[in-house]
Symmetry: C2
Subunit: 313 residues, 2 copies
């Protein structure tokens, strides 16, 4: 049996075909283009699913989808996604109608958490917090070995924890959200304020590339002091946001994943420094911080969650 795992990101949507062990057989990508509207997206998504179904046949039984934003897993609806600017998207019913496959949707960070849990912890009874550092920031919570949804499936909106009162404007409309500082959009905004000539900056450190977090990472690793400071500050902001989570939930593990986490050596030291200076020290001394090396955690988690829930239904 195989399952399709789908990760809907602000920029790209990724589809994989995987088996129960998390082994990936095939990967497909297309541009999300959220501004083209929901109908267009569901159409293009389903066409890609049918392409995979055509290739792998009846072995594929299920679709698991991870989407940014506030998702109602029970109804299969994306209630609100600030980064996609979508509201009340009835997703799974339409995908099932168009593809004839069982389909489940969850918050993308929940799916990354499930991927980490299933592949890295072998479903042990751990308390773990998975933070996805991408365009935006999400989190998935595993408590005593189970995905924690909260009462309406909205738990884990870590990107919108306030870390600065009346701080930077976030995509969600609030001010001071963690995401507005440490999501890649937030990092680049902060960078644009201190790097005067971004073209020259890119030319120097990332010839042929864009002004993005890869360029900033390359610059920092080449010793550029402005870029180094930007990542140090990112670590501090992350440390403040995660401190609040640790004080509330006292997890055994924090797992960082998503594109920004590739710059781990640049922001982890200042993040861990914030943990060290906490007067209520026990939960900070005991928490183990891991950065996942697996860039496919979200889509693998979605595929495995789809297979698991299909088999349990």
């Amino acid at each position: 049996m195989l399952g399709i795992g789908i990760d809907i990101g602000g920029t790209n949507t990724k589809l994989i075909v995987a088996d129960k062990t998390g082994k990936i057989f095939r990967t497909l990508r297309f541009s999300t283009l959220p501004e083209k509207g929901v109908d267009s997206f569901i159409q293009r998504l389903s066409e890609n699913v049918l392409k995979l179904k055509n290739e792998y046949g009846d072995e594929i039984k299920s679709i698991g989808i991870g989407s940014a934003g506030d998702v109602d897993p029970e109804k299969g609806v994306i209630r609100y996604s600030p980064n996609l600017d979508w509201r009340n998207v009835e997703l799974t019913s339409h995908v099932t109608r168009l593809t004839s496959l069982y389909c489940v949707v969850e918050n993308d960070a929940n799916m990354a958490a499930w991927g980490a849990f299933a592949t890295e912890f072998g479903k042990k009874k751990v308390n773990a917090f998975v933070i996805t550092l991408g365009t935006g920031i999400g989190s998935g919570i595993i408590l005593d070995g189970k995905l924690y949804h909260g009462s309406t499936g909205s738990a884990g909106e870590a990107g919108h924890l306030i870390i600065e009162n009346n701080g930077r404007l976030c995509n969600c409309g609030k001010r001071g959200c963690l995401e507005a500082y440490c999501g890649s959009i937030g990092i680049l905004k902060r960078a644009g304020e201190v790097i005067k000539d971004t073209n020259a900056f890119v030319k120097k450190y990332y010839a042929g590339g864009e002004f993005n977090t890869i360029a900033l990472t390359k610059a920092a690793l080449s010793g550029d002091k402005t870029a180094i400071k930007l990542f140090e500050d990112t670590g501090k902001y992350l440390g403040h946001g995660l401190s609040n989570m640790i004080l509330l939930l006292n997890p055994e593990y924090i797992i960082l994943t998503g594109g920004v986490s590739n710059a781990k050596e640049l922001f982890l030291p200042s993040m861990l420094e914030v943990f060290k200076n906490q007067p209520i020290s026990t939960p900070f001394e005991s928490v183990k911080v891991k950065v996942s090396d697996n860039p496919e955690l979200g889509s693998i988690g979605a595929a495995l969650y789809g297979i698991e829930t299909f088999e349990m239904k």
Copy 2:
């Protein structure tokens, strides 16, 4: 069967004798006087327990204790309590030695949460967040009907969530903690900054009393604009702190308890206003806020938790 429930507060320590239904038969109080040191406290606590044991005999089987601060329930140790200024207090072993009774200790907010859960929800499978607004601020987390401890028993340190970067100095040594604004000490500090003549203020609104949150409540209810504004601000700060919890944990219920919650009509409207203005609206629309009318929740919870764990051992 009866159990003793003990609530160690910064000012007073309260002992009750209760049965399994939470019915209270007897209440005793003594001054905590944390500055006299741990040995003195344990001695005085045990003397009061023996007094109750003398009155009720062998019917009393267990002691449940709720203490402010970071508690290790497994080892029976208060690891750190900022308000009592105690570290690494081996509590249950000494109390059992001096009283010959089974003894368990938990964070006081956990015990209030257990009291609310056992008496108000009949142990239903709810997700509830109990906030104790006293001298300091604590919280207890009930997830799917169980007391949630986290990996080292430190979960629920809601009083030390940061709500203002580089904000007011907290008893714990950090700046900007929720407790530094909304615990009674924090409220009185803020009040002292805007009320110039506190003696005249007390004389006017609370003759014979002290400058405390009761005086402020009486003043606000009499229309004093400064006092009204202080509680409105308290509600805003609380709203910000609780927003972060709601975004993370998406509970069905928030229960407010502790002395400050008696001023509910003065701070709840501005607190709920913060909830109303959240762009990720689902978890805020679904959460039900209750203020517990039961002032004994902490000690009843401790008594019931002591009885429950004694019977399960």
